[in-house]
Symmetry: C2
Subunit: 233 residues, 2 copies
């Protein structure tokens, strides 16, 4: 017999998935606990509506409110006689609130590992560690260059990528297979030159690739497969 541990998702204010604290939540937890093959392990509440708020105080306030809801849910479930062993919550933008919250056993901060251009504004204490390396394929005229990185290798829903290196270069447009770069006054690039792009959204960019190239002290150390890519069903 295989017993599947289950966390019940609480809607902590994001209004996406989960059940708000209340009788229906308690009922669902009881249903899990009473089912053969299912083991009730605890609660999960993701405060995704807080993680990107750029104002630190506002982010803290919204995350705090979410954690109060999760705590309320926990009380209700415990009063019903169930044991909450795991309380999972938090994102990269709210790790400092949620991570200190009494009873939280797991923080779902994933982006902090490599961060990205958007999270850098929210959590400047984490240094970006992910770039997409692209190659200049055309320098059609002064002030413009084209590289081979497009929407099939770097996503744009959180904005255009930034240029990590070299300096004086910005991304003007991302097409399917091309990035159009604007060069500051006296900057010149040449065909074949490498451009390091900093994604605005690391999660969906990583999902476009099959492996990480791990670089340490400017040398390739190893490659890590991106095993969850495409496992969207």
């Amino acid at each position: 017999p295989f017993d599947l541990g289950v966390l019940v998702e609480v809607d902590v204010g994001m209004e996406r998935c989960g059940v708000p604290p209340g009788e229906a939540l308690v009922e669902l937890c009881r249903f899990v606990d009473d089912s053969s093959s299912l083991v009730f392990r605890g609660l999960m509440g993701y405060e995704g509506h807080a993680v990107f708020l750029e104002d630190r105080e506002e982010r803290k306030a919204v995350a705090t409110k979410a954690m109060e809801r999760l705590q309320e849910a926990r009380h209700l479930v415990e009063e019903a006689g169930l044991e909450v062993e795991i309380m999972s919550a938090g994102g990269t933008g709210t790790y400092d609130v949620t991570g200190q919250w009494p009873g939280v056993t797991e923080v779902q901060a994933g982006s902090y590992v490599v961060t990205d251009a958007r999270y850098r504004r929210v959590c400047p204490e984490f240094r970006p560690a992910l770039t997409v390396l692209s190659t200049v394929i055309s320098c059609p005229r002064k002030g413009v260059a084209v590289t081979d990185a497009g929407l099939k290798s770097i996503t744009s829903e959180f904005g255009l990528p930034e240029v990590a290196a070299p300096e004086g270069v910005t991304v003007k447009h991302l097409a399917e297979e091309h990035a159009i770069l604007t060069l500051d006054g006296d900057v010149e690039l040449e065909v074949g030159q490498k451009i390091a792009l900093l994604p605005s959204h690391s999660c969906t960019t990583i999902n476009l690739h099959s492996e990480f190239v791990v670089v340490e002290h400017s040398r390739e150390r190893t490659r890590w497969p991106i095993e969850a890519r495409g496992k969207v069903r």
Copy 2:
């Protein structure tokens, strides 16, 4: 000995890659022709700046201008004594102009095979044949449902996906792993129900998946691997 056939790209007005008609273009073609192991086969000019223009007359005019530039390039190269065996151009939105252009031997219309929500506005004569099947995972309150298709399975740079089926449902927001749906007045969905989403951009959506599921008369017939996915370097 292996001889590599080469097409030289002409900038036909998109100002991205390629060389405009002129002495530099002729010089490049000659360089290819003179190189050992390279065989000059002809010219390529992509009028990507025309393919999405929704006004048919404007699209025709811009594509015509582009083909005139490609023709001008051909004359220059032929005057220099080189044979233009292949003249490649065109996109899905301009197949009707470019495909009838004298001397064009190849039309690069790719999207017409399955088309998408954006191309449907430009070329209504092609019927969309690609959907992303997603599953309702939450019906939190009246008028709202959540499915498991997010930015990791369907792209949004050309706009949100449309809902191919069922009727009365629209996509309000795409998150990383979730689509938030708005339901018309009396429409109700249930958890587990399938929703067919019509991508706004088929190219970058296909690139997120590892295989096509080929359906004929509502039955799965076969699966085709998406072999070029991730081959972005």
